[in-house]
Amino acid sequence: MKPPEFEPIVGRYLTVPILGDPCRVYVEEAGSGIPLVCLHTAGADSRQFRHLLCDAAVTSRYRVIAFDMPWHGKSYPPAGWQKSEYKLTTERYVETIRAFCSAMGLVRPVVMGCSIGGRIVLQLAHAHGGEFRALIGLESADYQQPWYDTSWLHRGDVHGGEVCAALVSGLIAPQSPSEYRHETLWQYMQGGPGIFKGDLYFYRVDSDLRGKLTGIDTKRCPLYLLTGEYDFSCTAADTLRTATAIPGAKVTLMKEVGHFPMSENPAQFRNYLLPVLEEIFKAAA
């Protein structure tokens, strides 16, 4: 009899107190070593990191951890969610990450976030840099010019999942494998109603960090910013402008990659990520 073909990923539920609410948070992890906490994009979930969680070149030295934020994936919203509109704020996002790391008992983890996750790592570097070993922003910038009206994302006469996926489909590089392009879009098709829009409240309204990223000490907490050339939402120019204002920030521009590097083209992404992880590992040794 053929043995079961399990992936190395283990998924569990963790109770995390966030802004006074006990939240049931779904978390997946694999590997051992330096904790590497991964933050998914707006309106998606931790499945975006499934390739990284199965990459032995990473998990041999890093404990890779990815969780679904409340309202996303397999993490329910906190009790009473039905009484108010979901809006992610900078305060809620920062506290979600810090509370998660605390509940997991992580000591100076590396945090890597994409898109809204790339934005929030800038805020973490600014306000809480001492708590992290290093920060990695994927498709990360202090501000991006909006390119559509988010009211289309949640209304009765437009299917939310389909429009969310169709909007972000253009952010995927044409070179990305079809299988992973459509897997990435499937995540967007499965988001809860209004959740992508609520995440973008943080992105569009509550986190313009231009001119606010003072005091980031990249010697104490190195900051890496990696952006795909096909990302027209967070452009290479957005990332480069952001890095210019942060002494010591290191930028990598990724060829043939769009807004979802870890999910849309994992093979191409690891070519750029592995040297970053190598540098962080050597610094910790």
Binding site: V158, A165, A166, S169, G170, L171, P174, Y230
Partner: protein, 137 residues
């Protein structure tokens, strides 16, 4: 008249290429027809100075031989021939690879009553990308 209405011969060739894609390539795309089963609308595609009126019934598009006088349409997608041709490259350049990328850089305008467009967004993105060799991704 819009800021994209130049193009001359290039626009005429691009418009013909779009018309042929709708009339021939679409016919073989049963997946697009399946996904557009509830699309019923009329839209204007502007390629430089060239205009094409698309009438779509149950997901099946037809292009009017010429733009009728006083024609009505629900929404319009307007761009110069250079932007359309860039979008239709086999592997488009970054920033020229999606209708919203073009709109963000000011090379395309999507306007009018957009509910039918947004309610069937991937269908329309794929429809206007049919002239690309290999078709939509």
């Amino acid at each position: 008249m819009t800021e994209f209405n130049g193009g001359g011969q290039q626009a005429r060739v691009a418009a013909e290429r779009f018309r042929q894609a709708i009339e021939s390539t679409f016919a073989g795309d049963t997946d697009l027809l399946r996904r557009g089963a509830f699309v019923d609308t009329c839209c204007l595609i502007e390629i430089g100075a060239e205009q094409l009126v698309l009438t779509i019934r149950k997901g099946r598009p037809t292009v009017a031989a010429r733009v009728p006088p006083l024609v009505s349409w629900e929404f319009a997608i307007r761009a110069g021939a250079d932007a359309w041709l860039a979008l239709w490259q086999p592997v488009p350049e970054p920033g020229w690879h999606d209708v919203f990328a073009l709109a963000k850089r000011g090379a395309m305008r999507i306007e009018g009553s957009l509910q039918p467009f947004m309610a069937n967004l991937q269908y329309f993105k794929d429809l206007v990308t049919l002239p690309r060799p290999g078709g939509p991704q």
